[in-house]
């Protein structure tokens, strides 16, 4: 099932969020708004707004209030994507030229900072210092995670917990915050907001592990970049860590560097796939997913809970 078909009962509100996003990123000075729209119109799963809206269903659902949080979180995510493309020197995202490729690095920096500012402007519509504290702390941790990712490149001796801490910061925290902030904005009980936070956290961990697996199991066409790109760029992900347990494969993996050619990379990928690394990675992803689903059972039964369940399964088990 397509993701959007899955949450059809949210479709009116999601369409409204989309309109708000468009309205928010338009700039008084044309080119900046044009660049932001360029990224917005390239699409995306809008996972964070969906988590905000669904989590808000566990409290007093007032869309006019909640929409600010949904828009703010997607804008934060967009800002980080624009800067990530400068970091990764990426020319294509979602099948379109990146902002840094179409305009320039410097222009992308200004666009990212602009989107960050627009996000905080929307978030400031919510007079809740606590909500701001949660989001701010999350942003700081995400940045620290990204710096660690650079620091840990080609560090094949890193322990599993370093990887887990990195993906927690890189992905899980913002999804967790989306759930928690949705609940806050709707005035849901504290215990419910906390469970939603951990639900988002575990889903986020599963989501990132799946993403890391797909880098090895998907085609270039599906990924929009060559398979194994993460490894070639030095990102030591879970399948790599598991594959390193095999002494023969280890030697091949540790020889990878930025200049490794396509043929050598294909051989390394084939060697990794012959180990049990992918299987073990899926098993860990499933364990996070189970934890997430277990938490859902502790929440009041409603349509949102059913959808959170389906959504968690979808993003944890997606084949692309």
């Amino acid at each position: 099932m397509k993701l959007k078909a899955m949450y059809s009962f949210l479709s009116d509100d999601l369409a409204a969020v989309e309109e708000e996003l468009e309205r928010t990123v338009r700039s008084e000075y044309g080119p900046l708004g044009e660049a932001a729209l360029h990224l917005l119109q390239a699409g995306g799963k809008r996972i964070r707004p969906v988590f905000v809206l669904l989590s808000a269903r566990f409290g007093h659902y007032d869309f006019e209030r909640i929409k600010h949080v949904a828009v703010a979180l997607e804008l934060i995510h967009m800002a980080s994507l624009v800067h990530d493309d400068v970091i990764d020197d990426a020319d294509v995202r979602r099948g379109r030229p990146t902002i840094k490729a179409r305009w320039s690095n410097r222009f992308a920096m200004y666009t990212g900072d602009y989107l960050f500012a627009r996000s905080l402007e929307r978030m400031a519509e919510l007079e809740s210092p606590r909500a701001h504290q949660v989001l701010a702390k999350t942003i700081v941790e995400v940045c620290r995670g990204e710096i660690e990712q650079i620091k840990d490149k080609y560090r094949f001796d890193q322990p599993l917990r370093t990887y887990l801490r990195r993906i927690r910061r890189k992905t899980a925290l913002l999804i967790a915050a989306s759930c928690q902030l949705g609940a806050f904005a709707a005035g849901a009980p504290e215990a419910v907001a906390n469970r939603l936070y951990w639900f988002g956290h575990y889903v986020g961990m599963s989501f990132q592990i799946t993403d890391d697996i797909l880098d090895f199991t998907s085609t270039e066409e599906q990924l929009g970049k060559p398979a194994g790109s993460d490894l070639q760029q030095g990102n030591v992900t879970l399948p790599v860590l598991y594959a390193l347990c095999d002494e023969q494969v280890r030697a091949k993996i540790t020889a990878v560097n930025a200049d490794t050619d396509a043929e050598e990379m294909a051989a390394v990928l084939a060697a990794i796939k012959q180990t049990d690394a992918i299987e073990r990675s899926y098993a860990l992803s499933d364990r996070y997913l189970e934890k997430a689903l277990g938490l859902l059972n502790e929440l009041p039964a409603n349509e949102a809970r059913t959808l959170l369940h389906d959504l968690a399964l979808y993003i944890g088990k997606r084949d692309y």
């Binding site: 000075y29 400068v86 900072d113 602009y114 978030m123 210092p129 701001h132 504290q133 940045c143």
Partner: protein, 259 residues
């Protein structure tokens, strides 16, 4: 001044990140902005609950924006560029974290407006889409002082926003003028030349003199505005202002006269 040193130390502590420091130079903490903020707070009818935290947050955001200005379009070491991007992102995250902890949502909104406006103006300059000299100087003034102006607005002291605008524009004009006279290269003068002589391939001596005179006129305007403001300020700021008003001016005037 104890307060200035204490704020500076707190900011430097927040900016400290061992891995970043290995690859990216530590950002400088702008003492002029700190002095302006401190004078403004002392003179404010409606200061925030935690003035230090607000000042430090504003300084972090300014440093974040300045850091992102260092990202180059091409060349340079890839890892350094990556870390410059992330350093700026981290500093802006820390800025938001401090403000959020102060609970001042109104200031979060005001600073966010400033950051939006600053980036709009930066893109306008970057794309060389400014058609008038006055607009160019207004854009540069806004980029330099928007955050301080919003802080002034928040504490009910808009006169300080204007003062900071003139002060920081003056400082910037002097730096650009110095660069232009000494090296022949200045972002501001390049923009001015683009507006005043759009078809010129290179500048003649007379055209250069014309641009320097234009810059001089704005420098004088800023100085007059600063003196006319007559605001109560700390001794250090008064000293810095006197320094700005003198300094490099004599050399420039001589250069203009001699052509």
């Amino acid at each position: 001044m104890v307060k200035l040193a204490s704020l500076k130390e707190q900011i430097e502590r927040l900016l400290d990140h061992p891995y970043l420091r290995e690859h990216v130079p530590a950002p400088a903490v702008d003492e002029d902005r700190l002095l302006l903020s401190l004078s403004m707070m002392t003179d404010a009818p409606a200061g925030p609950n935690e003035p230090d935290r607000c000042i430090i947050a504003m300084m972090l955001m300014q440093i974040a924006l300045d850091t992102h200005d260092q990202v180059t379009d091409r060349g340079g070491d890839l890892r350094t560029r990556q870390l410059v991007v992330l350093a700026g992102d981290l500093y802006s995250g820390l800025y938001y974290d401090l403000l959020a902890r102060s609970g001042d949502v109104a200031l979060i909104r005001l600073f966010a407006e400033a950051v939006r406006e600053i980036n709009e103006q930066k893109v306008r300059l970057y794309e060389k889409k400014v058609e008038r000299i006055e607009t160019l100087f207004a854009a540069v003034g806004m980029i330099e002082s928007a955050l301080l102006a919003k802080l002034a607005e928040r504490i009910g002291a808009p006169q300080w926003g204007e003062f900071a605008g003139h002060y920081l524009l003056l400082r910037r004009l002097l730096l650009e003028q110095e660069a232009f006279v000494r090296t022949g290269s200045s972002m501001l003068f390049e923009q001015m030349a683009h507006i005043a002589f759009p078809w010129a391939k290179g500048l003649t001596k007379e055209q250069k003199r014309h641009l320097l005179r234009l810059c001089e006129r704005y420098i004088d305007h800023c100085k007059e505005a600063l003196l006319a403001a007559n605001l109560p300020m700390n001794d250090l700021l008064r000293f810095r202002m006197a320094e700005l008003a003198g300094g490099f001016q004599a050399i420039v005037k001589k250069s203009v006269e001699e052509g």
